[in-house]
Amino acid sequence: MPEIKKYSESELVMLLKQHEQHAFGYLYDSYSGALFSVILSIITDRELAGDVLQEVFVKIWRQIDSYDDSKGRLFTWMLNIARNASIDMVRSKGFQNSRQNRELTENVYDSSGTTQTNTDKIGLRKIVQTLKEEYKVLIELSYFQGFTQEEISRMLNIPLGTVKTRLRNALVQLRELVKT
């Protein structure tokens, strides 16, 4: 973001905890684009993604008191809110229906599948695509689709211990890719 930072993170957190309107304005200006890209890496539909972004800011407003800076950075906390909200949306019944409709339409009129690959071209998910297949599938299922390791173990028919180890290795590789 090109904006000049007006607040240090601790100042910003303090103002957010006081529910200062201008602090939320600043938060929006600074982070809405980054959070929107996180949402778009899970939800293709921009209109729905916009709804989720609004929901994310409302959640930040409501839950800012529970943010503990000793446990991590503010953005990480917001990122996880955005990811969870997006996964919740994808799993909601309304989204399933709209996606079924869209897939039906696409199958009939558009076989290029451009909208389906959209999420793969954004942010962290784009980086995940460069991992080898057995790592990619684990991060895909756990991080972007929100399945537990037990669920993934059953889905892929891999022992839980293997899932755990392999995911850890995948994340170490991912860290190196994110750094650059």
């Binding site: 929006y28 778009l40 409302v58 950075r73 991080y143 995911l167 170490v172």
Partner: protein, 276 residues
């Protein structure tokens, strides 16, 4: 514990991406307090994630900021206490009993409306029954009046038919009228005989004869060659009374006889006499 190996195990990334189990997260948070390297590793990965997200930022639709800020202001206004962090959920759960109240009120109104309709219907039944009774009584009255009128019309029609017949008889060129003036003692009495010369039918007009006493009846006689011949009993007829057929006569006379008539006239009871 080998902190370096711990940091390199991938647990840092699991924790930051919220893929770690609660136990793993609790352990890491504790280690973060004790080992600066752990905290640094968490911050470093978080910072690179943040940077990555900022680099790949996608600007949301410009109008969205206003919507989001308005939603936050609404939150600020609705925020009752910090103790109620999810007012929206509470609102949602409140809508169900609210709907139930509306629904039960609806049924109350429906029940009230049904009772009003029932009472209205009963009142209309009474009203219409009274109307029906009145109309039925009037109908019966009209029916009896109509019967009476029909009866008197039949009477008039019969009289009319008789008169019609009489006029026909009188107008017939073959009919001769024989006036029978009152004899001595009955000067005021008068009667006419209409005698058709071709059919020989005899008709009597009892123009002016006194009312007959009980048990008595007028009898018409034809005088044929000086002998009285019975020409029939005089009944109460409207126009002309058709009498017996008389082929030949020189005069006609009426006497008062006992009801049913006599074979021979009582000459002292002659009222009228007319020569042909």
């Amino acid at each position: 514990m080998d902190i370096k190996a711990y940091i390199e195990s991938g647990i840092i990334e699991s924790y930051v991406l919220e893929l770690a189990s609660p136990e793993e997260a609790a352990e890491l948070e504790q280690l973060m307090q004790q080992h600066a390297q752990v905290r640094q590793a968490v911050d470093a990965f978080s910072a690179s994630l943040e940077q990555n997200a900022l680099n790949s930022a996608v600007a949301p639709p410009p109008a969205l900021k206003e919507t989001v800020m308005a939603a936050l202001m609404q939150q600020a206004n609705n925020q009752p206490t910090a103790a109620a962090p999810f007012p929206l959920r509470e609102l949602k759960s409140n809508t169900l009993p609210g709907a139930a109240v509306v629904r039960s009120a609806f049924w109350k109104y429906m029940a009230a409306a049904s009772i009003v309709l029932l009472i209205g219907s009963a009142a209309l039944n009474v009203y219409f029954y009274n109307g029906y009774k009145t109309a039925y009584t009037k109908y019966q009255a009209l029916l009896s009046t109509q019967n009476t009128m029909q009866a008197s019309m039949d009477v008039y029609k019969a009289k009319m038919d008789d008169m019609d017949e009489s006029i026909k008889v009188m107008n017939d060129p073959a009919t001769r009228m024989i006036k029978m003036p009152g004899v001595a003692g009955h000067e005021n009495s008068l009667a006419q005989v209409y005698w058709n010369q071709s059919s020989k039918n005899v008709y009597l007009s009892t123009g002016n004869l006194p009312a007959t006493p009980a048990g008595k009846q007028y009898q018409l006689w034809a005088i044929v060659n000086g002998q009285p011949v019975n020409a029939g009993m005089v009944d109460d007829c409207a126009g002309l009374c058709k009498m017996l057929t008389i082929p030949n006569a020189q005069a006609f006379a009426i006497t008062l006889e006992k009801a049913g008539g006599n074979a021979a006239p009582s000459m002292d009871q002659m009222f009228v006499l007319g020569k042909v």
